[in-house]
Symmetry: C2
């Protein structure tokens, strides 16, 4: 029933690509099977059922996302919090991240509605992003943990405004300076 691990490892990236490009809306068995060069029959055979399939693909995507985080930057430190935030926003706004961001909001929506597996996936992604971001905080920062939390909150809010086509709202706000 479980089939071989190596087969699944071959299918996952193909399905991941398809989901990233077309969204969860077309993440049904037959389209996914077509993208992976197999049949719905075989997907069920390899993954058991659709929920497990989706969980596995999302986990795979989360992993490659955090891998991309590591390689996108070197480990060179940054001089200020402003520079840290600029760096992350440059990363998330680099065109290649676009498909992932579109998927990200679908994951958030699923988590908010308690779709099984989505919350865990969303948390894993954010925890990984946060811990990486803490390491990116400037040297000698008085409170790297707290700073990373606040900045990441700000960044995610900004990404939401980006997603809905109102990028000027966070931009002008962030330019306007200290919120408190």
């Amino acid at each position: 029933m479980a089939s071989s691990e190596t087969v699944r490892q071959k299918l996952l990236p193909l399905m991941a690509t398809h989901i990233l490009e077309n969204g969860m809306g077309s993440a049904s068995l037959r389209p996914l099977a077509k993208a992976a060069g197999t049949s719905d029959r075989m997907l069920i055979y390899h993954f058991g059922n659709k929920q497990q399939l989706i969980t596995d693909v999302l986990a795979y995507i989360a992993d490659s996302y955090s891998a991309q985080l590591e390689t996108f930057f070197g480990s060179d430190r940054v001089a200020s919090r402003e520079q840290a935030i600029a760096r992350v926003r440059a990363f998330t706004n680099s065109g290649e991240m676009r498909p992932f961001l579109a998927l990200w909001w679908e994951i958030v929506a699923g988590a908010a509605r308690d779709v099984p597996g989505y919350r865990e996936n969303a948390q894993a992604i954010m925890v990984s992003l946060l811990s990486w971001f803490e390491g990116q905080m400037p040297e000698g920062d008085p409170d790297p943990a707290g700073g990373a939390r606040t900045l990441l909150t700000l960044i995610e809010g900004a990404e939401m405004f980006n997603a809905i086509g109102l990028p000027d709202i966070p931009n002008r706000g962030i330019e306007a300076g200290r919120p408190f």
Copy 2:
């Protein structure tokens, strides 16, 4: 084809309730018709097609949301930006807003994927929220417009973390103080 406006006005709140409770995932014609006490046949008759139907219901929900904004608070001013942010978060975290927030992330996801109508809807909601929030800024604030933008960005980021079950991240971050 267009049918009478009054009939539509009777159907909209019933369908809005159903969507708020069950999400866009079950916003298909037959469930909506059942919730509105009519038939899929009649919904198409009254609204033309499904896309128009959804657009109208979402617009209706956006309207009742901003109406709720007005009534939730009096027009009394607030003493500080911290107090302003606390006020909005009290509003969004009041249990009755929960269904709307769950729907909100589905709208954001749709906007990010260019589902027709979603972006316009999301923008309308955020523009209305922002302009209301500007009016909520403390008296004598040096930059109410910029402040409202930054704070709203922070709030939306915090709501995202709430939605995925990590409320401590923005809380601890915001407590930690000034991001810059």
